[in-house]
């Protein structure tokens, strides 16, 4: 691990003062960053510990919630308002990692965690994300866990978060504070597709600090987070689905939100499927058709073709289940 200088920030202003440098990193629970530093993937010269900054969950004037970026995963999933009004958020968090890691990990760190692509972690492998321009060994390698949607010739890595999939479905917003002041980023604009610059993963600029996640008032309808993985607990998603479905008494879809994890470089909001379903009769055929349309452009690699069918079936099954509950 490369030596670094450590600062513990008491507030946002203190964090920004020390975190503005190009070789500085903000440190949350450390469950990803410390590991990346130990592997030599991240080599910050300054670590700014922000775990004492923004640790509250507060009611928002519009009926939503403002979640401080320093709130731990466990605290978020345990909050009564989250458990009762945003069960999708609690379910997604609890689907991820282990209890020990959730006790350490923060919301801000969860949003900025990096891919678990094995080639990204392997310094002997070519990886455009780790060393821009060096190539991508995952493309022709063992790529069972890699992306089927929105990938590029430069990068086929996936985003590992569960929480982010729920936040994408709920149209959350993220507040960042930087040297030029504060701004809000729509969740769909936070994470980037890889394109030719997979080393750029988010729209957060160097020196900016995520201070809060805003959840709008809870959407009408029932919600579910389903995660398909290689073992029943403590594994990353092969495919995950976050869904909110509102079906009227006439069985017509009034509203639907759908986001996918494990399939792309960013949380994948399934806007095509959503558009097909709004105003349609909520039955199995409609769900299957919408799922198929969303996956129509999926591009399999050598080992991950199974994800296409898995994603289709999981989307359709989750929507069918939610529609049944609403009946």
């Amino acid at each position: 691990m490369t030596p670094f200088t450590y600062f513990r920030a008491d507030d946002t202003a203190g964090a920004l003062r020390t975190g503005a440098g190009a070789d500085a990193r903000y440190l949350g629970g450390g469950t990803n960053l410390v590991d990346l530093m130990r592997e030599g993937i991240e080599r910050p010269r300054t670590l700014v510990d922000v775990t004492a900054v923004s640790t509250e969950i507060e009611d928002d004037a519009d009926g939503g919630l403002v979640i401080g970026a320093g709130v731990t995963n466990t605290a978020l999933a345990s909050d009564r308002r989250v458990r009762t009004r945003y069960p999708l958020v609690a379910r997604a968090i609890l689907a991820g990692a282990s209890a020990q890691i959730r006790n350490m990990a923060t919301v801000g760190g969860n949003l900025l965690q990096r891919t678990r692509c094995t080639y990204f972690y392997d310094e002997a492998a070519a990886c455009n994300k780790r060393v821009p321009g060096s190539g991508c060994d995952a493309r022709e390698g063992f790529n069972r866990i890699h992306a089927i949607l929105g990938a590029s010739s430069a990068c086929v890595a996936t985003h590992p978060s569960d929480l982010c999939i729920a936040l994408a479905a709920l149209d959350a917003e993220v507040t960042v504070v930087g040297p030029d002041g504060e701004r809000r980023i729509a969740f769909a604009d936070l994470h980037l597709l890889p394109g030719e610059t997979p080393e750029r993963e988010t729209s957060v600029r160097q020196g900016e600090l995520i201070v809060a996640v805003h959840l709008p008032a809870p959407p009408v309808g029932r919600s579910a987070y389903r995660k398909v993985r290689d073992r029943a607990s403590y594994a990353f998603a092969l495919v995950s689905v976050a869904a909110v479905l509102d079906v009227g008494e006439d069985r017509v879809v009034r509203d639907v939100r759908l986001a996918l994890g494990g399939v792309a470089h960013k949380p994948w909001r399934a806007t095509r499927a959503e558009a097909m379903l709004r105003g349609r009769f909520a039955d199995e055929a409609a769900f299957a058709a919408a799922a198929a349309a969303e996956l129509a452009d999926a591009a399999p690699l050598r080992d991950n073709g199974f994800k296409i069918e898995l994603a289709r079936r999981t989307i359709a099954a989750v929507l069918y289940e939610l529609a049944g509950e609403a009946a």
Binding site: P3, T5, T31, D35, A99, S233, Y234
Partner: protein, 172 residues
């Protein structure tokens, strides 16, 4: 840096890169906490910080200044084993023993989470105020601790006997 370990104040001067795990093992002469994968995948390094379980391998020691750490060495009361330690012996909750300190600290932290109403992935009713440690809850909540010997049945039995929903009443 100053912190409290197993109830005693300690001071140490260490390289800034030192993990909490290495601080305990290499500098404070507390080798009970084990280094397994050193990347947060196995749970052997689990300790309690202010009563909350974490992976000490992923923790930079410097982040935990001023906090109160409990390791496996701090569970027993003198020569009297913690009830969970006694249950691990009673139920054969280990074979080689390498994962045991982490299993013990993890289960103690888990019991506290249950009492505080922290839900899990398998909790049916998220809004419930009281939770009980069913077999499924126990397995899900302990999934961050691996045992390569495969002593899981004994581990589960020991934890269930100590904290489970169906445990017989025990007097302290």
């Amino acid at each position: 840096m100053d912190l409290t370990v197993n109830g005693k104040p300690v001071s140490a001067e260490v390289d800034i890169r030192t993990s909490l795990l290495d601080l305990l093992r290499e500098h404070l002469d507390l080798p009970g906490t084990k280094k397994g994968c050193n990347q947060g995948a196995c749970g052997a390094c689990t300790v309690l910080v202010d009563g909350v379980r974490i992976n000490s391998c992923l923790a930079l020691a410097v982040q935990y200044q001023g906090r109160s750490i409990t390791t496996v060495e701090g569970l027993a009361d003198g020569d009297t084993l913690h009830p969970l330690q006694a249950a691990f012996i009673e139920h054969d909750g280990f074979q080689c023993g390498y994962c045991t300190p982490g299993q013990l600290c993890s289960a103690v932290g888990m019991a506290d989470e249950l009492a505080r109403g922290v839900p899990s992935y398998v909790t049916d009713v998220l809004a419930a105020d009281t939770l009980s440690l069913t077999h499924d809850e126990l397995r899900e909540r302990m999934s961050g601790n691996l045992c390569r010997c495969g002593a899981h049945n004994g581990i589960v039995a020991a934890i269930a006997a100590t904290y489970g929903a169906d445990r017989p009443a025990v007097s302290a």
